[in-house]
């Protein structure tokens, strides 16, 4: 019974796979993003916007391909990449050792730092050392979670992982702080109605890039992306996009 079922499924997969694998340059790029990471990828009145969208559109233009954006909860994005449903993820993916073991990355296109953010008026936390004994929110599966767990006093921090809305929970005082990249944290504080403030300096440099599956096609597409990023660096496009969103160039180290 089981053997029969398995052979049916295998036969079925062989029948369909040529279709799934057929891919050439005229195909649109399939790009995954959360749509929930202001101001990198977010939705306003049903319009997908943000730094990531602008940069990806510029890269796609270089490659002469259209882009299909797939928005999914962050926890689903790597699953989509893994199962071949998208070509890459444009969601400020930080290069980490764990991820490098599994994926191939382009050169970084964003340089940033990890930042502690607290509710406005919270003077107890002024640096990452002050997180001892506090509750700290991070996004589920983000590298900030890994960064916190690597701290020598990590077991003294109550780390809470969130699928989304951790800014709100910090503003409500349910957690003492959250950790995110400095750029988006500053942007949220500047533009949005939540009572938050940056707490101290950044505590880790992060380099963000596009991950691709470690396969022949993945590596080939990665190389094309790298060439496109080089070009966009040289002609100033990346700088221009960055300045339009952040007033500063975050695409250079």
């Amino acid at each position: 019974m089981k053997a029969l079922l398995l052979s049916v499924i295998t036969a079925l997969s062989m029948a369909i796979s040529p279709l799934a694998l057929a891919q050439d340059n005229s195909d649109p790029l399939d790009v995954g993003m959360s749509g929930r990471y202001f101001p990198f990828t977010f939705v306003e009145k049903d319009q997908l916007k943000g730094f990531e969208v602008d940069v990806m559109n510029a890269i796609a233009k270089e490659l002469g391909r259209e882009v299909n954006y797939h928005t999914a909860a962050f926890s689903g994005l790597f699953g989509m990449l893994e199962s071949g449903r998208i070509d890459t993820v444009a969601n400020q993916i930080t290069i980490t050792e764990d991820r490098q073991a599994k994926y191939v990355f382009t050169q970084p296109y964003v340089y940033d730092g990890a930042q502690v953010v607290t509710k406005q008026g919270n003077d107890e936390i002024e640096s990452v050392e002050d997180l001892k004994g506090k509750t700290v929110a991070v996004n589920l599966g983000s590298n900030f979670e890994a960064l916190l767990r690597e701290l020598p006093y990590a077991d003294e921090i109550d780390i809470r992982t969130y699928e989304s809305n951790l800014e709100q929970d910090t503003a409500l005082g349910r957690v003492d702080a959250f950790v995110m990249d400095r750029i988006s944290a500053s942007q949220i504080i500047k533009d949005k109605p939540l009572p938050l403030e940056l707490a101290g300096p950044t505590f880790s440099t992060i380099r963000n890039a596009y991950p691709f599956p470690d396969t022949e096609e993945g590596r080939a597409l990665r190389d094309k992306f790298d060439a496109a990023i080089d070009k966009l660096h040289k002609d100033g496009t990346l700088k221009k996009i960055s300045e339009s969103w952040f007033g500063t160039d975050i695409t250079q180290p």
């Binding site: 499924i9 749509g35 999914a72 689903g76 071949g84 949005k192």
Partner: protein, 224 residues
């Protein structure tokens, strides 16, 4: 505490409404398929059909025993790692499949309970006047079982509508996914989620009305 941004809420209504049909489509298709599957499972269980019965018990045990989210991740992200062609299944199909299997496991049990719940004496009476098994089922058991099952089945449908909100983890932007993205862009959480809540509520209230009507119709023959 800032006051509710009513203008923003009103702007959101037409935007979020566009995603309601997809939510309803996934739930309705899931419900129809789950009903068919649940009836089959229930019949196997009631008649204790050999081999199939064991398989059904295992099926129900697994799909009741694990969270829907785990099942969705298994289908959508797990299986394609082994069978690469399963990538061809899109998020909407995977959600409908997940809803179907998950809820059919529950529904099979309540349909089985409804069939078994019809008093045994009626079976004996029907057989004693020479009805065949098929006639017994069609004329005596099923009309009464349907009546018993309707309220619980409706409950599962309501649950299913709300369970579609998990589809966003599979990359399907339905009502809840759209709301979360709008909220993450505006940071007006309260406003956004109230609009979504009211939409779900209205839909479910309409169903509750349908349920009352159905119950009234089905009970007519039995009320004294």
């Amino acid at each position: 505490m800032q006051v509710l941004d009513v203008t923003y809420m009103l702007e959101l209504v037409p935007i979020l409404l566009q995603y309601l049909p997809l939510t309803l489509e996934m739930a309705t298709l899931g419900m129809i398929l789950a009903l068919v599957l649940a009836c089959l499972l229930a019949v196997v269980r009631v008649l204790k059909i050999p081999v199939l019965n064991r398989f059904t018990i295992l099926f129900i045990s697994f799909f009741r025993g694990t969270p829907l989210l785990v099942q969705l991740f298994l289908f959508y992200y797990g299986l394609p790692q082994i069978f690469s062609s399963l990538t061809a299944i899109d998020g909407i199909t995977a959600t409908i499949m997940g809803l179907t299997m998950h809820f059919s496991a529950y529904m099979a049990e309540s349909i089985r309970a409804a069939i078994v719940g019809v008093d045994r004496s009626q079976t004996e009476a029907a057989l004693s006047i020479g009805m065949t098994n098929a006639q017994l089922m069609r004329r005596i058991i099923l009309p009464q079982a349907t009546r018993i099952a309707v309220p619980t089945l409706m409950n599962y449908f309501i649950d299913m509508i709300k369970a579609t909100s998990l589809a966003f983890t599979l990359g399907v932007t339905e009502l809840m996914g759209a709301t979360q993205k709008e909220a993450a862009g505006s940071f007006l959480y309260f406003e956004a989620f109230i609009v979504a809540a009211v939409m779900y509520w209205i839909v479910v209230e309409a169903l509750a009305w349908l349920q009352r009507y159905l119950e009234f119709r089905l009970n007519k023959a039995y009320s004294r």
